[in-house]
């Protein structure tokens, strides 16, 4: 229950962090350590070097970019929960943040850490997919931006190369008329979710996005209310059609039994209710 011996570096700049990443092949980035810590203690991960990036000022800063909020990768769930990060999502990010694991985990766990880990049962992945978040990634060969949907390749697998660093998440600013909903089904509060539903739509512009995730495969995204609502009207949560949604999930390639499909559909339906609640 003790980690293997590793070395520890604490770069103060992004460039210094990238140099360290390039110099040691068996290195791991440490942000809040709320997933990596247990893995280290269990010796599932045995790095030669841990690179602590929590003291790089850019990574714990938040800036307003007009149509989006740029949130540094090391911003904690608790900072969002406590509204120390400006709310530009009609309260949605705060609601999601406050439901992640437990307070003692949220105070250290980070947005960027969660996304880079890409556990399909984790909250931010599904929650930010419906908001069309973009990730800012930098490496020794330069910087790039990638939309979250293209970032995730599968369960715990991302587009991030071992020599790259996720530095910020760009979350588009929500229109005042936009509604977002989120719901997860867990057997115990704070555990990894068995199913997640997330939805975002704007009655003004007609924009719609819904995500369903289970505990194992990457989340499924629906860009249109078609095939999910019996009346085709996403404004009416009662018209969300569970059997239709289960068919749509099956068609999207989810190979799961009826129970697993159903809890995903229930999570979607409750996310819809969450979005409609005042």
């Amino acid at each position: 229950m003790k980690p293997v011996a590793f070395e520890y570096e604490r770069p103060r700049t992004i460039d210094a962090a990238l140099d360290l990443l390039g110099a040691e092949s068996n290195s791991k980035i440490l942000a809040g350590g709320q997933t990596l810590g247990p893995m280290l203690n269990l010796r599932l991960v045995q790095p030669g070097l841990l690179i602590d990036i929590t003291r790089i000022p850019e990574l714990v800063s938040v800036s307003d970019e007009g149509d989006a909020l740029k949130i540094g990768a090391c911003v904690t769930h608790a900072a969002i929960e406590d509204a120390r990060v400006e709310d530009h999502s009609n309260g949605y990010l705060r609601r999601v943040a406050s439901g992640i694991a437990y307070r003692a985990v949220r105070t250290r766990g980070t947005l960027g850490g969660s996304l880079s880990h890409a556990d399909p049962a984790a909250d931010w992945l599904s929650a930010l997919l419906v908001l069309k978040a973009e990730l800012e990634i930098t490496g020794l060969d330069g910087s790039r931006r990638v939309v979250l949907k293209n970032f995730v390749r599968g369960a715990m697998e991302t587009d991030l190369s071992p020599r790259e660093l996720l530095i910020a998440v760009h979350v588009p600013r929500s229109e005042k008329t936009a509604r977002h909903g989120y719901y997860k089904i867990c057997r115990k509060t704070g555990e990894f979710a068995d199913a997640i539903g997330a939805v975002s739509f704007d009655p003004g512009s007609g924009a719609f996005c819904m995500v369903a995730a289970g505990g194992s495969e990457q989340p499924v995204t629906f860009e249109s209310p078609e095939n999910l609502f019996s009346q085709g009207d996403p404004l009416d949560p009662d018209s969300f059609d569970m059997p239709m949604a289960m068919d749509a999930l099956r068609e999207a390639g989810i190979e799961a039994d009826n129970y697993e499909l159903q809890i995903r559909a229930v999570a979607m339906s409750r996310a819809m209710q969450d979005a409609m609640s005042p």
């Binding site: 011996a5 092949s25 709320q34 880990h117 990894f192």
Partner: protein, 407 residues
């Protein structure tokens, strides 16, 4: 060893620590502050909850070296705290403890919950305290003790909210006592070991791979898969006879040398998130010519985690689409021993196996067509599908042990 300087319970402390020393061990063994208890030691039980720069944290998964420059408060430091005094009394009156092992963590977490104004009613208290486990009380006494104190508490103070970092404490502005014996600039450039390329798997499920039911029989987990390739059975069968060639179709696999009478030694590197395992092993391949059937039995060991994997893969080729294509039915059974073997979660199997098998089918298809594939060498015959299923175990193991949401 790394030198760190931090404040613990109001006293400045400077010590040399190894980076792997967690904060709980540091407090207990270096500073003899044994009020902080270690329960699960991987961030589940909450017994080790302490306060770091005003926020509660789990000291078993927070390393002491990361608290360099921080202010840490443990249960020993709340004698003068009026809210904690009320909680202590309420815990006693309401029978909120029996053996007392979880109590330091319970008290620290309860004080934080009340202070943040989140202990509004029974439901919010139960949710707010759900990160702290108690084996004795059944929680009734704990919930009523917290409710009792919260009901009489009206202040809601966040004195340092504006100055706190948005990241994990202590953040970029903390004073730095940190120094290593070797400065970072003097770090010797390590010889980079030739790395086997980890499999890069497409997010797209291959349409020609189907995964069936996953079942458990004794210590063996069994599953079946059907792979369709667009080549006649004769060609596929001939190709499958060449173990070395087949090995190159499977991401992450490298053989140590040519097979000797159906016996082959090799290794497979698999990565999942931050975990990587290098399984060294051997396999025996048997082919039953007149039945279009092959059997591979293999076992492998990851030296670092000392985990063992063993498995059996059986494949059968059948003609499909009037002879133009071949349907390969694969059935697998595997078992694990060692640290990675304790848990299993069936659901993730489909995703991982589908992707690995998809990559295999695609590579096989490419090779059969006489084109070269640019993917890294790898192997079905070395039992790699079996190894890929290992990740089900690892993932299930992690989620059960972490038992909670995202980081």
């Amino acid at each position: 060893m790394t030198r760190i300087a931090l404040t613990v319970n109001g006293t400045k402390v400077t010590r040399e620590v190894t980076p792997r020393t967690n904060l709980a061990d540091f407090l207990r063994e270096e500073l003899l502050l044994t009020g902080t208890h270690i329960g699960c030691e991987h961030g589940i039980c909450g017994a080790c909850t302490v306060v770091v720069d005003g926020e509660i944290a789990r000291s078993c998964i927070t390393y002491a070296v990361t608290c360099d420059g921080a202010e840490v408060r443990t249960i020993e430091n709340f004698d003068e705290d009026t809210l904690m005094a009320k909680l202590r009394q309420a815990f006693s009156e309401e029978h909120a403890l029996q053996c007392g092992y979880c109590t330091p963590g319970m008290l620290v977490a309860a004080r934080d919950l009340i202070r943040r104004g989140e202990a509004r009613d029974e439901e919010s208290i139960r949710i707010g305290m759900s990160g702290n486990l108690c084996r004795c009380t059944g929680y009734m006494g704990i919930v009523s003790a917290v409710a009792k104190v919260a009901g009489a508490y009206s202040e809601k103070a966040e004195p340092n909210a504006a100055t706190r970092t948005l990241g994990p404490a202590p953040g970029p502005d903390a004073p730095d006592g940190f120094a290593t014996e070797k400065p970072a600039s003097a770090r010797p450039a390590k010889a980079v070991k030739a790395e086997a390329a980890a499999p890069v798997l497409s997010s797209q499920r291959s349409a020609n791979v189907q995964t069936g039911e996953v079942t458990q029989e004794g210590k063996f987990t069994k599953l079946t898969q059907t792979i369709t390739v667009n080549h006649p059975r004769e060609d596929v069968w001939r190709y499958m006879a060449d173990i070395e060639k087949v090995a190159t179709c499977m991401p992450g696999v490298a053989l140590d040398g040519p097979p000797q009478e159906g016996h082959v030694d090799g290794r497979m590197l698999v990565k999942l998130g931050p975990i990587s395992a290098d399984l060294a092993g051997e396999a025996d391949v048997t082919r039953i010519e007149n039945e279009w059937r092959g059997i591979i039995e293999g076992k492998g060991r990851d030296a670092r985690s000392a985990s063992l994997a063993s498995g059996r893969v059986e494949y059968q080729l059948a003609e499909a689409e009037g002879g133009a294509a071949t349907q390969m039915s694969v059935s697998m059974a595997y078992s694990l021993a060692g640290p990675l073997a304790q848990f299993s979660r069936g659901a993730i199997v489909r995703d991982l196996v589908s992707r690995l098998a998809g990559a295999f089918a695609q590579n096989l298809e490419t090779r059969l067509s006489g084109r070269e594939s640019d993917t890294a060498p790898a192997a079905l015959d070395a039992g790699s599908l079996v190894f890929s299923v290992l990740w089900d175990h690892i993932k299930g193991f992690i989620s059960k042990l972490l038992g909670r949401g995202s980081d």
